[in-house]
C-alpha cells in the first residue's frame, strides 16, 4: 500500500464510519439493486425488455428495494467503471444484462465479495456471480415451423446481427423447425453487422422481400423490419418484445423475453439470504421465453400446431436439436436420437445442413 492509498483508505474509513452512524439511525435499509443495460431503454427490444423486468421488481417489493439502472453502457472500457461504481455505492445485487459485460463483471465481483452479481448470456461464474440466459432457440424452432407452414413462396427472410453462437443457434433452430414442415424451405440470411440500425434493418428487410421472402424473422433489436412487413403486406415475427404495435396485421407472434419472475426471485433470494451463484438457462417451460399472442393472420391449424409443439417442448418430449443432424458441409453432428449438449449449443459456430451462407472462421 502506498501513501496515497493509505491516505484515501483512512479517509474512506472515516467516511464509512460517519455514514454508518447516520445509516444506523434509520429503519431497515431498503435493498439496493442495480441494472446495467447496453442499449437505450427506448430500443423497444432487448434492453427495453430487461427494463420491464426492473419495473416488475420495483412493483413487487415497493419501498423494500431501491432500484437503479444505467443505460447505454458500452461493452468496452466503460462497463467496468459503471459496475464498480454501482458496487461501491452500496448496491447488493447487480444485474449486468449483456454478454460484453462478462469480464468486467467478474473483475468487479472479485473486489466486492459481499455484492451479488447476475450476468446475462455469459459463461463465467464465481462465488458471487451467477449467470442466466433464456432458451430463445425453443421459440425460434416454433416460429420456424409456423413460417414454413404459412409461407407461400417457400422462402423465409432472416435479418441477423452478428455471427455469435446465440444468433447462429437461432438460425439453426428456426431452420430445423421449418424443415419438419417443408423439407424444401429456403432461408435467406442477411447480416447487417449491427444490433441496432433501423435504416439498415429496414433496407435488409426490403432486400429479402424483393428476393421472394414472404415471411421475415429477425435477430436485431429495432422494430424496423416489422414495420416494413406491415407496409408490404407480408408477415413477420418480432424479437425480444411484443412488436404488435408496429405490425398489427403483420406480426404472427414474437419471441418475448420475460425476465420478470427471474429478477423477482433473485431479489427475494438475496433478501432471505438464500442466494447462491447459479447457472440458469430457462426456456418456454419456465416462461422465461414466451410467445406473444398470435396475430390475426395466423390460421387455426397453425395455432394448433404451434401450441402442440410448445407443449411438447415444455414437457420435454421434443428437443429442437435432436439427431440426426448434420453440419452444413455434410459431416455428421448428432446421431439419431441424440440431444445436443448445452455446451455445444452455447458455442455453436456452424450452420446445420440445408442452411445457405457462410460464417466467419
Amino acid at each position: 500500500m502506498n501513501r496515497a492509498t493509505r491516505l484515501f483508505a483512512g479517509l474512506g474509513a472515516a467516511l464509512g464510519l460517519a455514514l454508518a452512524v447516520v445509516g444506523g439511525a434509520g429503519a431497515a435499509e431498503p435493498l439496493k439493486v442495480a441494472f446495467v443495460y447496453t442499449g437505450p431503454i427506448g430500443d423497444h427490444g432487448y434492453s427495453y425488455q430487461h427494463d420491464v423486468g426492473r419495473k416488475a421488481v420495483e412493483k413487487e417489493f415497493g419501498d423494500k428495494v431501491k432500484v437503479s439502472y444505467v443505460e447505454n453502457v458500452s461493452e468496452g472500457p466503460d462497463a467496468e467503471r459503471v459496475i464498480e461504481q454501482l458496487a461501491a455505492s452500496g448496491n447488493k445485487l447487480i444485474f449486468t444484462t449483456s454478454f460484453g459485460f462478462m469480464n468486467p463483471t467478474i473483475k468487479v465481483a472479485a473486489r466486492h465479495p459481499d455484492v451479488k452479481f447476475e450476468h446475462a448470456t455469459g459463461f463465467k461464474t464465481a462465488k458471487n456471480v451467477g449467470i442466466y440466459n433464456a432458451r430463445f432457440y425453443e421459440g425460434r424452432y416454433i416460429i420456424g415451423q409456423m413460417a414454413a407452414k404459412m409461407s407461400k413462396s417457400g422462402t423465409i427472410g432472416y435479418i441477423a446481427s452478428f455471427p455469435i453462437p446465440e444468433v447462429v443457434m437461432g438460425i439453426n433452430a428456426a431452420y430445423l423447425g421449418a424443415k419438419t414442415v417443408n423439407p424444401n424451405i429456403k432461408f435467406k440470411i442477411i447480416w447487417v453487422s449491427s444490433w441496432f440500425d433501423p435504416g439498415k434493418e429496414s433496407d435488409a428487410a426490403k432486400a429479402l422481400v424483393d428476393q421472394g421472402a414472404d415471411i421475415l424473422m429477425q435477430h436485431t433489436d429495432s422494430p424496423a423490419a416489422m414495420k416494413l412487413a406491415e407496409e408490404r403486406g407480408i408477415l413477420a415475427f418480432g424479437q425480444s418484445s411484443d412488436m404488435a404495435d408496429f405490425g398489427p396485421k403483420a406480426q404472427l407472434t414474437s419471441i418475448v423475453d420475460d425476465w420478470n419472475y427471474y429478477y423477482i426471485s433473485r431479489v427475494k433470494a438475496v433478501m432471505d439470504g438464500s442466494w447462491k451463484p447459479d447457472n440458469v438457462w430457462d426456456g418456454l417451460k419456465e416462461k422465461m421465453v414466451e410467445l406473444a399472442p398470435y396475430g390475426p393472420a395466423v390460421p387455426d391449424d397453425v395455432k394448433k400446431m404451434a401450441d402442440e409443439t410448445k407443449a411438447k417442448i415444455i414437457s420435454g418430449e421434443l428437443h429442437p436439436f435432436i439427431g440426426p443432424i448434420a453440419k452444413q458441409d455434410g459431416t455428421p453432428w448428432l446421431k439419431d436420437g441424440e440431444k445436443a449438449q448445452d455446451k455445444d449449443l452455447l458455442s455453436m459456430n456452424f450452420f446445420v445442413q440445408g442452411v445457405e451462407g457462410s460464417l466467419p472462421k
Binding site: 435504416g199 426490403k206 414495420k227
Partner: protein, 306 residues
C-alpha cells in the same frame, strides 16, 4: 425484372436522406463554412418531424417541423462559428453530440409509437406503365423534392446573381466584403439552409424509410453526407450521383448476401466506405480541377476589418 425494379426503388429510399443532407452541406460549404454537425442536425430533424406528424396527423406539418429543427440547429452553429468565431471543426462535432442527446431526450416519449406508411405518388395511367411507371412516376413526394432541390441549387449557384454572391463569399470573403456584400449574413443564410436540408434528410428517415423513431437512428448517415460533398467536388448534380451510388452499393451488398454470396458480412459492409475513398481518389487526382471547385475560404474564420 421485378427484382431489378425493387432494387432501384430501394436505392432511391436509401439515397434520398443523403441527397437532402449533402445538398444542404454543399450550400454551406460553398459559402465558405464547414459544418461537421450534419449528423446532429439530421437526427434533430428526424425527431421533430416524427413528433410533429404524430401530433398533427399531417405529414406536411411534420416535414416542415423537421426542416425547422434542422434550420435551428444550423443557426445555432452559425451563432457560434460566425458571430462568436469559434472553430468550425470542433463546433460541428459538439453540435453532433448535442443533437444526438437532445433528440434522444425529446424522443423518450415517442419510443414505441409508429406512423402509417408514407404515401407514394400515384398518377393514373402513368404510374401503371410497367417498370418505368413506378420508377419515374411512383416514388414518394420527398424523392421528387430532393431531386428538385438539387436541380434548384444547381440553377441557383450558376444562373442567379444571389448564387454568384454566395460563391464569391466562399471563394474570397475579404473581397466579397470589400465589394459590400454582407459576408456574415450570407453565411448565416447558408448554414441555416444547410441545417434545414439536413433536417429534411432526417425527416425522411423517420417518416419514410423506417417510419418510426429510435434513438441515434441516423447511424452515421450525416458523416456520409459530408463525404459526398467532397466526392461531388462541390457540384450539385454530382451529389445526386454520389448519393445514389452510395445507396446503390448499400442495397446491393444486402441483396448479394440474400443471394447467398459467400463473403463475410463485415467485408461487404465495408464496401460503401471503400468505394467512397476510391471514387474520391479518382476525382481528386486532377489537382487543378479539384482546386477550381473547392471554395477557397472553406473553414476560414471571417471578421470584417473595416
Amino acid at each position: 425484372m421485378d427484382l431489378v425494379l425493387n432494387i432501384l426503388l430501394g436505392v432511391a429510399v436509401a439515397a434520398t436522406p443523403l441527397v437532402f443532407a449533402s445538398i444542404g452541406e454543399l450550400i454551406t460549404e460553398r459559402s465558405g463554412v464547414l459544418n461537421l454537425g450534419v449528423e446532429g442536425m439530421m437526427v434533430m430533424g428526424a425527431i421533430a418531424a416524427f413528433a410533429a406528424t404524430l401530433a398533427s396527423g399531417s405529414y406536411v406539418v411534420g416535414i416542415v417541423a423537421g426542416a425547422a429543427a434542422g434550420a435551428a440547429m444550423g443557426a445555432l452553429f452559425g451563432l457560434l462559428t460566425l458571430s462568436l468565431m469559434s472553430n468550425q471543426v470542433a463546433t460541428g462535432l459538439a453540435l453532433t453530440l448535442f443533437g444526438l442527446g437532445l433528440s434522444a431526450l425529446i424522443g423518450q416519449q415517442f419510443a414505441g409509437a409508429s406512423l402509417p406508411q408514407f404515401p407514394r405518388v400515384n398518377i393514373p395511367v402513368l404510374t401503371a406503365i410497367p417498370f418505368i411507371g413506378p420508377l419515374i412516376f411512383g416514388q414518394d413526394a420527398l424523392v421528387y423534392l430532393s431531386i428538385a432541390l438539387v436541380l434548384g441549387v444547381g440553377w441557383f449557384l450558376t444562373k442567379t446573381r444571389a448564387g454568384l454572391i454566395l460563391r464569391a463569399t466562399g471563394e474570397n470573403h475579404d473581397a466579397a466584403h470589400a465589394i459590400g456584400y454582407p459576408v456574415i449574413g450570407i453565411r448565416y443564410l447558408a448554414v441555416t439552409f444547410g441545417g434545414a436540408c439536413a433536417g429534411l434528410g432526417g425527416a425522411y428517415l423517420s417518416l419514410v424509410q423506417t417510419p418510426l423513431w429510435v434513438e441515434r437512428m441516423t447511424a452515421g448517415r450525416g458523416w456520409i453526407a459530408l463525404a459526398l460533398v467532397v466526392f461531388a467536388s462541390w457540384k450539385p448534380l454530382r451529389v445526386l450521383g454520389g448519393a445514389y451510388l452510395f445507396g446503390g452499393i448499400t442495397i446491393l451488398q444486402l441483396h448479394s448476401q440474400a443471394l447467398g454470396l459467400k463473403i463475410d458480412a463485415q467485408i461487404l459492409s465495408m464496401l460503401p466506405y471503400l468505394a467512397t475513398i476510391v471514387v474520391l481518389v479518382v476525382i481528386s487526382r486532377d489537382a487543378t480541377r479539384m482546386k477550381l471547385n473547392a471554395p477557397s475560404c472553406l473553414g476560414k474564420v471571417f471578421y470584417a476589418t473595416s
